[in-house]
């Protein structure tokens, strides 16, 4: 049963190849169905492999399949090999599962786009890369997938490259990720320099031969890679801009799967982190800081997708907080539940935009639950899940992280708990602004020329506010004369319903009632072994923390209700400009690169390059020319001069021989 694991990445790769060759001929929507079928097949394979793994005994759940030698260089052999264990197969299951639903959703969402088949080419390539990343048995193959998802993310963010903002956002994501990748590469080099191998089995088996400082250095370098990919402070800046891509991309890549690669990598290298425990503290602090920081920004955004983007960064911060606390299972648990509810939130946002003719400004929405009942219902489930209201899935995973954080440090717990309040607040704010209250879209539509709804996307005043509008050739919706939100087709609604179900009951994966209901812990515990942190807090403390968090969540929801539903507090008081501009971090980076960065570049180009580099090259030439100019005088052209020189040389040799022997 486990032997078929190679099919897991092979099916999306096949889809990529097929669509590349015949995608245009298949066209809209058959290309989408082909892609969806193959990814669904991949999900089925993952389920079979998972079942096969489950049937083995708990301590024998590692299976390595080597396909062929990829890079043989001297003593270094990098095979294409897959490592099937609890961690990789859990990741593979939810990656393929969520991907299948998003593929299905994309068929409806991308309908009518000029480059419909191309979109699915990228999506399949993305799933392939992600599966390579997850299943790889060595760092190099993981890095292949790592770069693959990076490249796909670049293609997909700038999918509508006719728009300058999309092209720029793609570039930004690419460049920011490079910074992280450099850490990943250096980490790999360091591992190879000390252990002479990059296979996971060999490296983790010999981790104890590393000194603690080396292990810490490796851990920190690899964490730098994770910071880039998983959008943590300070490399988070690409993710909010990545919302320029089509909404299914935001859901697939920037919420559910790709950004979790960093968390996955940290879980994968847990023996190294265990050996250099200082790294864990750094991870926990960065995680908590990002968590809080991104949540504050999310409270003041008006773009429906930007709120979700910052919320993703914040939730990823929770996962890193868990990793830093040694709670790998909690991190993975939250990763899975987050994949469910965040994919749902993004797809719901996409559905809202689809129904609202590409409107993204929440100030121009309201009362949409009457027109889009399925979207509203599923979105509300996701809201309750992410806000941490029991018994929805997000509550259980967040609670587990917070208890582990309490064990690590009370300060970390406090930051996490405050963030829980903020999370509940900004998500409630979004739900109230979009689905409840007064319908504000009618005035917004009346403000525009009502008969020119087709051109609405271009004339959108909101675009000036940096909330770029999204239009993907779905012009037929704009052809209706009157402006009225509408529900989305079934290919879009079905994934919403499925994900809503998963978001509601996802907590059942790891219910902390007693040992037997903690399925995920039981499943993953043998893998992490002693790296896994055992919760030491007493049951009473747990209940207290649980109650405090719940109260904070309710305060958050209540506050949002007072502001955005009852209008008892003016909205602008709670949306200061510093938060609306994301603490001016982007502006700061721009100023840094444009000011000192540009100066450094200019100095390098006009001083260092001109004087030192060119000076060295020209200096060698001058030296040779001047020497030649001096020495050429010896060559007089007179034969007798040469003869004299030869005679003198012969005499000198003769004298040397004679006097040496004498």
């Amino acid at each position: 049963m486990l032997d078929i694991v190679w099919l897991l990445p092979a099916l999306p790769l096949l889809g990529f190849g097929l669509l590349l060759l015949v995608g245009r001929r298949l066209g809209d929507p058959r290309a989408g169905w082909l892609a969806t079928t193959l990814v669904a097949g991949s999900f089925a394979v993952a389920a079979v492999v998972c079942a096969g793994l489950y049937l083995r005994s708990p301590h024998d759940r590692v299976f390595v399949q080597t396909l062929f030698d990829w890079i043989p260089v001297g003593g270094l052999h990098i095979p294409v090999a897959f490592r099937v264990d609890q961690l990789s197969i859990t990741m593979a299951l939810f990656v393929t599962g969520v991907s299948t639903l998003i593929h299905l959703y994309s068929i409806g969402y991308m309908h009518g786009d000029d480059r419909f088949p191309t979109f699915f080419v990228y999506l399949n390539l993305f799933v392939f890369s992600m599966l390579m990343l997850v299943l790889a048995d060595n760092f190099v193959l993981t890095f292949l997938g790592w770069e693959g998802v990076g490249a796909c993310s670049y293609f997909l963010i700038s999918f509508w490259f006719e728009r300058n903002t999309a092209a720029v956002a793609g570039k930004k994501a690419f460049v920011t990720n490079r910074v992280g990748d450099f850490g990943f590469l250096l980490g790999m080099f360091l591992i190879f320099a000390h252990l002479g191998s990059l296979d996971y089995g060999t490296v983790f088996g010999h981790v104890s031969s590393l000194s603690t400082s080396t292990a810490t250095a490796i851990g920190l370098l690899l964490f730098l890679g994770a910071v880039g990919k998983s959008a943590q402070l300070p490399l988070y800046i690409w993710l909010p801009d990545a919302m320029e891509g089509p909404t299914p991309v935001s859901a697939l890549i920037h919420a559910a799967t790709m950004v979790t690669a960093g968390v996955f990598l940290m879980a994968r290298i847990h023996p190294i982190l265990f050996h250099g425990p200082d790294t864990l503290t750094v991870i926990a602090v960065i995680g908590a800081a990002t968590d809080f920081y991104a949540a504050t920004i999310a409270c003041a955004q008006n773009d429906i997708k930007k709120v979700l983007a910052y919320s993703t960064i914040s939730q990823l911060g929770y996962m890193f907080l868990a990793i830093g606390s040694g709670a790998y299972v909690a991190a993975i648990f939250h990763m899975i539940t987050h994949a469910f509810f965040k994919a749902l939130l993004f797809l719901g946002a996409g559905s809202v935009m689809h129904g609202m003719h590409d409107e993204q400004d929440m100030k121009k929405m309201g009362a949409l639950r009457k027109w889009m009942p399925i979207t509203a219902g599923t979105f509300i489930v996701a809201w309750l899940a992410i806000a941490g209201v029991p018994p929805f899935s997000g509550f259980w995973s967040k609670d587990e992280i917070l208890i582990n954080a309490w064990d690590k440090s009370a300060v970390l717990w406090a930051v996490g708990a405050i963030t829980a309040l903020l999370t509940a607040y900004y998500m409630s704010r979004q739900v109230f602004m979009v689905f409840f209250g007064n319908a504000r879209w009618q005035e917004a539509a009346d403000a525009k020329e009502p008969q020119e709804a087709e051109a609405q996307a271009e004339h959108e005043p909101a675009a000036a506010e940096g909330t770029a509008d999204e239009h993907g050739g779905k012009d037929e919706h704009g052809a209706h004369g009157d402006f009225r939100p509408h529900e989305s087709p079934w290919t879009m609604a079905l994934p919403l319903v499925a994900l809503a179900g998963l978001s509601a009951v996802g907590g059942a994966l790891n219910l902390p009632i007693n040992k037997s209901t903690e399925f995920l812990t039981k499943w993953l515990e043998p893998l992490f072994g002693s790296s896994l942190h055992e919760v030491t807090a007493s049951t009473g403390t747990k209940w207290l923390l649980f109650a405090v968090t719940l109260v904070l969540v309710l305060i958050g929801i209540g506050l949002a209700r007072a502001v955005y539903l009852a209008h008892r507090i003016p909205e602008d008081d709670l949306e200061p400009s510093v938060l609306r501009h994301a603490w001016y971090f982007d502006a700061f980076i721009s100023a840094l690169v444009d000011g000192p960065g540009r100066l450094l570049g200019a100095w390098t180009a006009y001083v260092f390059d001109l004087k030192v580099i060119d000076g060295a090259v020209n200096g060698v030439a001058t030296l040779v020319r001047d020497t030649g100019g001096t020495v050429r005088r010896i060559q007089t052209g007179f034969v007798r001069n040469y003869a004299l020189a030869i005679a003198a040389g012969a005499l000198a040799l003769f004298a040397f021989v004679v006097f040496r022997t004498a």
């Binding site: 050429r632 005088r633 010896i634 060559q635 007089t636 052209g637 007179f638 034969v639 007798r640 003869a643 004299l644 005679a647």
Partner: protein
């Protein structure tokens, strides 16, 4: 009565010195050329003498090589001299420095 080997060697040394000094002091290209031949043959004589004294045929073999090289050299050298005579009246070595660096 046989002539001792040392005499031949002395003769060869005299011939070589005559050639070398001639090459250095004369300006006429043809005479310089003859001086070079003189030096070459002085060396040939030395080779033959040693071949006889040491009873080793190797010395005589080398002489043939030298003769062949000398013949080739004469061809090239005389060709150059003829070419020079075509272009200018005399052939004084100190007047010609075409390859000056």
């Amino acid at each position: 009565m046989t002539v001792p080997g040392a005499w031949y060697l002395t003769l060869a040394a005299f011939l070589f010195v005559i050639g070398a000094v001639g090459l250095l002091v004369r300006r006429n290209v043809l005479v310089m050329f003859m001086c070079v031949e003189l030096m070459l043959n002085a060396v040939n004589l030395t080779f033959v003498t040693f071949a006889r004294m040491l009873d080793d045929i190797g010395g005589q073999v080398i002489v043939f090589f030298v003769l062949v090289v000398a013949a080739a050299e004469v061809v090239v050298g005389l060709g150059i001299i003829v070419a020079i005579f075509r272009r200018r009246a005399g052939a004084t070595a100190d007047d010609i420095s075409l390859l000056k660096g």
